[in-house]
Amino acid sequence: MFWRRAAHGRVGFRRSLPELGLLLLATLVLLEGSVLPLGAASSPETGITPGAGVSHGHADKNHSETKHKKPFPVLGLNYDSVKTPFEISLWVLLASLMKLGFHLLPRVSSIVPESCLLIVVGLLVGGGIKLIREEVPPVLDTKLFFYCLLPPIILDAGYFLPIRPFMENLGTILMFAVVGTLWNAFFVGGFLFAVCQIPHASLSHIGLLPCLLFGSIISAVDPVAVLAVFEEIHINELLHILVFGESLLNDAVTVVLYHLFEEFSEAGTVTVLDGFLGVISFLVVALGGVLVGAFYGFVAALTSRFTYHIRVIEPLFVFVYSYMAYLSAEVFHLSGIMALIACGAVMRPYVEANISHKSHTTIKYFLKMWSSVSETLIFIFLGVATVEGPHQWNWVFVTATVILCLVSRVIGVVGLTFVINKFRMVNLTTKDQFIIAYGGLRGAIAFSLGFLLDIEHFKDMREIFLTAIITVVFFTVFVQGMTIKPLVELLAVKKKQEAKRSINEEIHTQFLDHLLTGIEDICGHYGHHHWKDKLNRFNKKYVKGFLIAGERSKEPQLIAFYHKLEMKQAIQLVESGGGSKLPSAMPSTVSMQNIQPKNQPPPPKPTERALPQLTKGREEEIRKILRSNLQRTRQRLHSYNRHTLVADPDEEGFQDIILKKQKMMELDRKIKEMANYLSVPSHPKDSPTMSRARLASDPQAYNIKLPAGGVPTIQVDLASPQSPDSVNLLDEIGKAEQKEDSGLMMKPPESNGPEKAGEKDGWRDQQKLTRCLSDPGPGAEEDEDEPFLP
């Protein structure tokens, strides 16, 4: 029977993966449970030796003095010393396996958001542990949460914060964060106090200040929960940044309110002076946090300027400085979250200009990895902590809390939007308001803050509070989290546009910026654009030169964007196999040739133009081959494999490309002049290396025009990779001879007269090569032996 069951388990492999995780955990917990007493017993000795005849050694030791030498332990068991890291690793492993498992169950994960599933898993695990060991480890320890689990998520959010939409909507976000949270806190707190006064609810021991404190804990929208849920619904950028920005910025309010009410709960009364000090404290907390973060951000940017020689530790600087910003802010009771956001947002443009591409990728992946694991762990721990308690269920309190939270959120959003819309250019519609209100999820931060409450001062209230907080969190995450996706579909809310930023949009964004600044200047109005422009100019003039190394400091944004685009295209080309068609956003057959104005004299006689032209397809093939060969040559030069980047986009390589391109363009011009005076359109005299270089760095397709005689002869020879010719760019200009060994070359056409000699061979070679490269190759109508001419 056991075998049959195992076989059955193997068949249903997919379903067993989450169960596997649970099983794993259960077994290890059992192991731990059983080992623990053994461990306790053996700790005075050095270890238990399961060897047969050695146990008497222990007995001997007890009797005799220390002089007795016990036999050398061949195999020992010491779980105690690795207990903590081991358990931590187990939890992380569980979290990761869970994440893995969910993605193997697509049906479930499309209905239920991941956060819900994780909480359920946490509940199960907690329940399991409780059953086995009668007590649950206090996993959602406040220190652990605030110092280990929360920072990666916030740093990830802050580093990759889309600055432009955030700044454009900053007023709205601040309104929601500050005024909205204040409103929520007071509304919920006040009404709860009223509810507590109801005679037979047995809640009369909860005073006004504890109620307000509770209100301030529960009113803050939680960034972790918002991130987790909103990530899956892909709504448009505006709504996403509004809710998310609010969840980040309300931390300052929460911190101040929490401390305020906590202090005064003990004192019992609040005076006007205290209220006034509270306001000042809020400003200090918020601005102080931002300043601390900005300071660390600048220092990080400055440090990254000098990491030219030790690229490996660049990511480390980013992480450590950010973490220190967080901790420093916490030292002074400033808002750590705002410090972290400010640090990430400030350092990013400068750091990215300084670090290598690989460091950038490292930072991105590490942040994503840590924040993902953190998030998973937080939800699992929420589940476990729910099982643990302590709980005191009070129907009145809990239901009142849930209802009040919802009501206050709706009223707050509607009221604030009414005011905000007077100042916004793009008004928030009712649909938007609904999503903002519905997206106000509470999460683990509220729970941790509740946990932080002093047990002494809040004797009977703490459990009630915790239960209510957990209920609200569950309600928002489960009910709101699960239903928001279908609601978004139902209400047809605008989704996120997946279109990539095109160069035209970038040009026009910049153009509009300058245009609007100009108009504002003409009107004499110091508006948004004016200040933004001033800040940009200040940034460019002073800050960038200070914080960015080398030439990049002077690179305007448009050029930086363009280079990034080119790089992406090059990488795409390599990753797509090199030989196949360059993937482009729009499938089209338009090439540079169609755009370049014809500056040659018009073709004079029809007879001379009866020469066959390259058809589009053929030309594409040639271009592809040239480009791919070029990429491969460079690949081999740098001895990378095809899965890494081709052109090492470090600073040197970059500058080289730019330099080469510049020189290339000059030569191009010179040659065009020379070629201008032919009676028939001829293609520019390119030396092999020049064409190679141009193809390498330029998305411009090679501009092929036929020489008088016929086809361009392209002899492509992959045989010799490491020829020094492929590196030496400019020496070959003017050399008429061909080098048989070079990686790529073009036979420059002679200035007069067609060439017929090498035609056939050239084309055949190319055909062979085409097959070698496993290209899609020229069309099926070609034969290898037929000449190119149809």
Partner: protein
């Protein structure tokens, strides 16, 4: 700047308000500014714009100033350039930057978009042939990068070329190798910036203007 000398009668304002969509206060404020710029004259000339200090550091200031004197922006059938403009033309040009008044129906939104994009198009199309050729586009990009020196010029060409290629790919799709893409027509321009949300992006808040602050 003291008192208003001769404030135009509200009846004139009514006319202008209807034409351009500005409110009376906004027109009043802009009129003050017009008079300040033109040194209390009735017409505004190109040299008057040179007196604005902040405009001097704007890379596309020539194009902006040109736009004010471009008759195509005054009315639908206008053509050519003038040397001086009155307050009405000033206001008409400014009205292109008015924030959209909500709620808008789809046709209204479309017409607003077309109007604003038409303004932009006219700015690019300096020789007024109805399309933005490669040279003109290159000029635009060069102006944008005009402060980056020699590096800017070469890259500007590359950027403009790539951008043009993109427009052609989006608008025309398939072209034979010997066809020539003349330039971006207005329809192509519309298509290109279809996702750009220009109706909200291309607006200046005329609400709380304090035009007296900026003096030479």
């Amino acid at each position: 700047m003291g008192t208003l000398q001769s404030s135009p009668a509200p009846s004139e304002y009514a006319d202008l308000s209807e034409k351009t969509g500005f409110s009376f206060e906004q027109i009043g404020v802009l009129h003050k500014r017009f008079r300040h710029l033109s040194h209390n004259d009735n017409v505004l000339r190109k040299e008057d714009f040179n007196g604005i200090p902040d405009l001097a550091s704007n890379p596309i200031r020539t194009q902006i100033v040109e736009a004010f004197f471009d008759q195509r922006n005054f009315s639908k059938d206008g053509d050519g350039k003038v040397d001086e403009i009155g307050f009405e033309e000033f206001l008409v040009v400014m009205s292109h930057f008015r924030p959209p008044s909500l709620p808008m129906t789809d046709e209204q939104r479309d017409s607003v978009r077309k109007e604003k994009l038409r303004f932009l198009f006219n700015m690019h199309d300096s020789d007024n042939d109805g399309m933005i050729t490669l040279e003109e586009y290159r000029h635009v990009v060069e102006e944008l990068l005009s402060r980056s020196g020699a590096l800017g010029k070469e890259t500007a060409k590359g950027i403009a070329d790539a951008a043009m290629l993109e427009v052609a790919s989006i608008s025309v799709g398939h072209m034979e190798p010997d066809e020539f893409y003349e330039g971006i027509t207005f329809d192509h321009f519309l298509k290109l910036l279809a996702t750009f949300e220009i109706e909200s992006k291309m607006s200046v808040r005329f609400l709380n203007m304090d035009t007296i602050t900026l003096c030479k």
